[in-house]
């Protein structure tokens, strides 16, 4: 191996960065990240919606209209998921960007490449996320659903308050996967002219014929973005887990321990007719006076 090439590489990179760093590479990174973040968020929302719809409980005794409606929803979702998961994103972009004007004689078309890019990456992410969300929901103990049902919650309330928060935590690694894949794979949007970080490489390399130094910048750039993403996702997971410890609330000296309250003969803890209430009140008063005296002596 020719180690002497390294100083040469460093020099080339420095040259490229000085000339194209901000205009091409950094702005490309900005666009890549924006697209990845926005599309991942929208994709998650699509996935969550699909997950909720797919897991609506249905039994044989439901009215036929409800069963038919649910069956239609499941079939439509199935087709959406299979089609968008099963075809390359690069072709989906072409289909939507060129297909719509083709079939509508140019009357329906997207003027903004941003809109198309976000749309394509979002529905693609959504198709993958729908399955992840479904898995996340299935992973939650059925007891959680029963607990929620038993206090009268509807399916939607159960999902929003109990199941999805837990499912979402469980599929965070999957969301992270999708986000990182999106950071890299948004580069295929060049097919419809989206100038992301990878497009910057093609522009610069085409102008200067410095393929390898530019690719090195790309490699380092992508790795930096994905490492930061990983780090942020880990941090979010930790935050979602919450603290491992908890504070005991200062026990009210009037509260008795389990098993001795609400006794009809004694009245409740807060009942002033209760003997225990008065002894405890007196004790509390004595302690308070004692503390005050102690404070006075110290002064």
């Amino acid at each position: 191996m020719d180690w002497s090439r390294f100083p040469q590489l460093a020099e080339d990179i420095a040259g490229l960065w000085a000339k194209y760093g901000v205009v091409n590479y950094l702005s490309g990174m900005g666009r890549t990240l924006t697209l990845a973040v926005v599309a991942t968020l929208i994709g998650c929302a699509i996935g969550l919606a699909c997950g909720i719809l797919q897991t609506i409980p249905h039994v044989k005794t439901d009215p036929p209209a409800k069963r038919f409606f649910l069956a239609v929803i499941r079939v439509v979702l199935r087709i959406y998921i299979e089609v968008f998961r099963g075809t390359p994103m690069i072709l989906q972009a072409v289909f939507i960007f060129y297909g719509l004007p083709y079939f509508t004689n140019n009357t329906v078309r997207f003027d903004s490449i941003w809109t198309v890019s976000i749309l394509v990456v979002s529905i693609n992410t959504g198709a993958y996320m729908a399955e992840s969300v479904r898995g996340g929901i299935l992973s939650i103990d059925p007891g959680q659903t029963e607990g929620a049902k038993a206090i009268g919650m509807t399916h939607f309330q159960t999902m929003m308050s109990v199941i999805l928060p837990q499912a979402l935590r469980n599929i965070m690694p999957q969301i992270g996967n999708n986000f990182i894949i999106n950071i890299k794979d948004t580069s295929v949007m060049f097919i419809i002219g989206f100038t992301d970080f990878f497009a910057a490489h093609k522009a610069v390399a085409g102008a200067t014929f410095t393929y390898f130094p530019s690719a090195t910048i790309e490699m380092a750039g992508y790795l930096t973005m994905t490492l930061i993403a990983s780090f942020l996702l880990r941090w979010m997971e930790k935050r979602m887990d919450g603290s491992d410890s908890y504070e005991l609330v200062q026990t009210d000296s009037l509260t008795m321990t389990a098993g001795t309250y609400n006794h009809p003969a004694k009245g409740s803890n807060y009942d002033e007719h209760s003997k225990e209430y008065h002894t405890k009140q007196k004790r509390a008063g004595r302690n308070l006076r004692k503390h005050r005296q102690n404070d006075g002596e110290e002064r």
Binding site: K149, A150, M153, L248, A258, Y261, N262
Partner: protein, 246 residues
């Protein structure tokens, strides 16, 4: 006898060809504490789950204040909000603190304000002796503590009747006492309760009515003194003889 809350009429439940419950008939009046006892697999839990519509009965009626809730098209969530349930495995929401567990139903289902929900949650948590633990997550509690929170969660919905599905069966022996003490004080306070239990002492001393189930049918029922003191059927005698110490 007080006002009828629940009337179970000819209730039957099959899982496929397996008939779990057959022609079950009994009533729950206001203030009743009914214990359902019987061997494992006799259909006790399925019966309780049918009463709460967590299982759909295959036949028969469940009349709640005279209205059949086992009918199609009945708003099951609305009915369940009047009928509390405490599970063997607690089923506390693991993503919420103890306090939130007792507030969420009041806010989402009963549409109470946050302050109202908090106040009543704190009251019931204090009642079950869990006041100091409101900031804990369920995973940080012992089994007995979890079950007491689960009872507070059910009580916070201000139910007309409270169903207990073997509330102490998943607990270590030293924690059974604290949960039974809470249930006993509820019974004394006049709560209407339907309890599936293996705690014969509780069934005998606390309940006002005992139902002995065997192989999916009610074999014998009556006041605790009758069922425990002078069982009529051979099956009941055999079953109770296994709890000689009681």
């Amino acid at each position: 006898m007080g006002e009828m809350i629940l009337e179970i009429r000819h209730l039957g439940k099959s899982f496929g060809s397996h008939e779990v419950l057959r022609d079950i008939d009994f009533t729950v009046a206001k203030g009743d504490v009914t214990s359902i006892i019987g061997a494992s697999g006799s259909g006790k839990s399925t019966l309780l789950r049918c009463v709460n519509l967590l299982e759909t009965p295959t036949s028969g009626e469940i009349l709640y204040h005279g209205k059949n809730v086992a009918d199609r098209g009945v708003n099951a969530p609305a009915y369940r909000s009047h009928v509390g349930m405490v599970f063997q495995s607690f089923n506390l929401f693991s993503n919420m603190t103890v306090l939130k567990n007792c507030m969420v139903g009041q806010m989402k289902v009963l549409k109470k304000s946050q302050e109202e929900a908090r106040a009543s949650a704190l009251k019931y948590l204090d009642d079950v002796g869990m006041g100091p633990y409101i900031n804990a997550k369920p995973r940080q509690l012992s089994g007995g503590q979890k079950q007491r929170v689960a009872i507070a969660r059910a009580l916070a919905m201000d139910p007309e009747v409270l169903l207990f599905d073997e509330p102490t069966s998943a607990l270590d022996p030293e924690m059974v006492g604290e949960v039974l003490a809470v249930m006993q004080s509820l019974a004394q306070a006049g709560m209407t309760m339907l309890v599936v239990t293996h705690e014969m002492a509780f069934a005998r001393d606390v309940s006002s009515h005992v139902v002995y189930m065997n192989q999916g049918v009610i074999c014998e029922e009556g006041a605790p003194s009758e069922v425990f003191g002078n069982p009529q059927k051979q099956e009941t005698k055999d079953f109770l003889s296994r709890f000689r110490s009681v």
